[in-house]
Symmetry: C5
Subunit: 100 residues, 5 copies
């Protein structure tokens, strides 16, 4: 999975029927030092991630291993809201610090 930050949303009314009711988030990837990368992904979200939160995004067929999405034409899904990331025993990100 990749670490990404919730940057925005994508809205569409004219789409595959099976995508109805799926919230689509615009995620921007983050490198192992916490910097925003140029790559982004539009992913479905069923965990309820909010703006600026760090999330884990899964891609490929794994994105359909979620209840109700087995037959959706989705290649990326948010699967977790990140509490903390530690690198070399150093805390790179802590959600609590971001929201105090």
């Amino acid at each position: 999975m990749q670490i990404a930050k919730v940057r925005g949303t994508v809205v569409s009314t004219h789409k595959e029927l099976s995508l109805r009711g799926v919230k689509l988030l615009l995620l921007q990837f983050i490198d192992e030092e916490g910097r925003l990368l140029p790559e982004y992904e539009v992913a479905g979200d069923q965990v309820g991630a909010g703006a600026d939160e760090w999330v884990l995004v899964t891609r490929g067929s794994a994105a359909r291993q979620i209840d109700g999405s087995e037959r959706r034409p989705i290649d990326a899904m948010v699967v977790a809201i990140i509490d903390s990331v530690s690198v070399d025993n150093r805390l790179l990100y802590n959600k609590k610090d971001q929201y105090r």
Copy 2:
């Protein structure tokens, strides 16, 4: 999924039989700032996207999760015509503005 702009079409008469009747669009990817990227994708389209529209393209096995395409050798499909994209609460793209 990736955000892409409809740039053109690809026509083929000599192809896998299962691809008959599938419209093939040439899509060019767009970055999170709305700029055209050098990457493109030829994708099937069943939602009826038109020239210059912004669309969502799904890739990999997800492209076959569409009625009638389950057994087609297609690795990319247009799954939505985008109405709007918002980044950091700013409207990056609004389809209505493009067509006024």
Copy 3:
């Protein structure tokens, strides 16, 4: 799918049994302006593409959605010989012009 030009062939006698009888083409990718890119792919071909022709190549599990190839360990297949590519209503490639 990606647009690619047939550049050559790959021959192997010592291979997985299920690959017997599959013609393997060396394809070089082409960008949206018609220029050769550094990326290439070795793909199976059952549509009969010839040297210098422009083709569509599908990758991933889609490459096995072809009669007789469902269980072959192939991750790329030629699925169409391209007649024409149009970008912004301009003809980028026309097979007839190439062979006159």
Copy 4:
């Protein structure tokens, strides 16, 4: 598979239910000369890899070919802790040397 070094961990309480109990490691990829690359991956771990160990990471649908993870929305898993890597008959990495 890719060779990667265990750099850290990712913790999440709010996530897909099926991810409960899966340890998530932050892996950084290593090139064929043993240098750290900028690319990383967050992968599930059921083999018990520790900090700084070199591991093999598998991606895509292969990450679900592990007992108990068949239906998990995971696109990367640690599948082996590396003992040694040899390139051109030269020992590039030997786990024993790292831990003496």
Copy 5:
């Protein structure tokens, strides 16, 4: 598939049980001119490729379309030892020449 050169081996004793008995080769990719690329892949090998040989490597779910590997968490497999590669009717590689 990609063309790669066998550069070395990876040894692991602590791994997923289903990987037992699978030889793991370190492959380095080769471009369409025969030059070594920085990208590598660790792949399973059941065809018996030897050091410095040019091979075809398949990636993704195709790597499991091999007898006995259907449930292995492997995302890359050697599927052929290359005899020759021809580009624009010029012989780029000929195995016999390499070993005389």
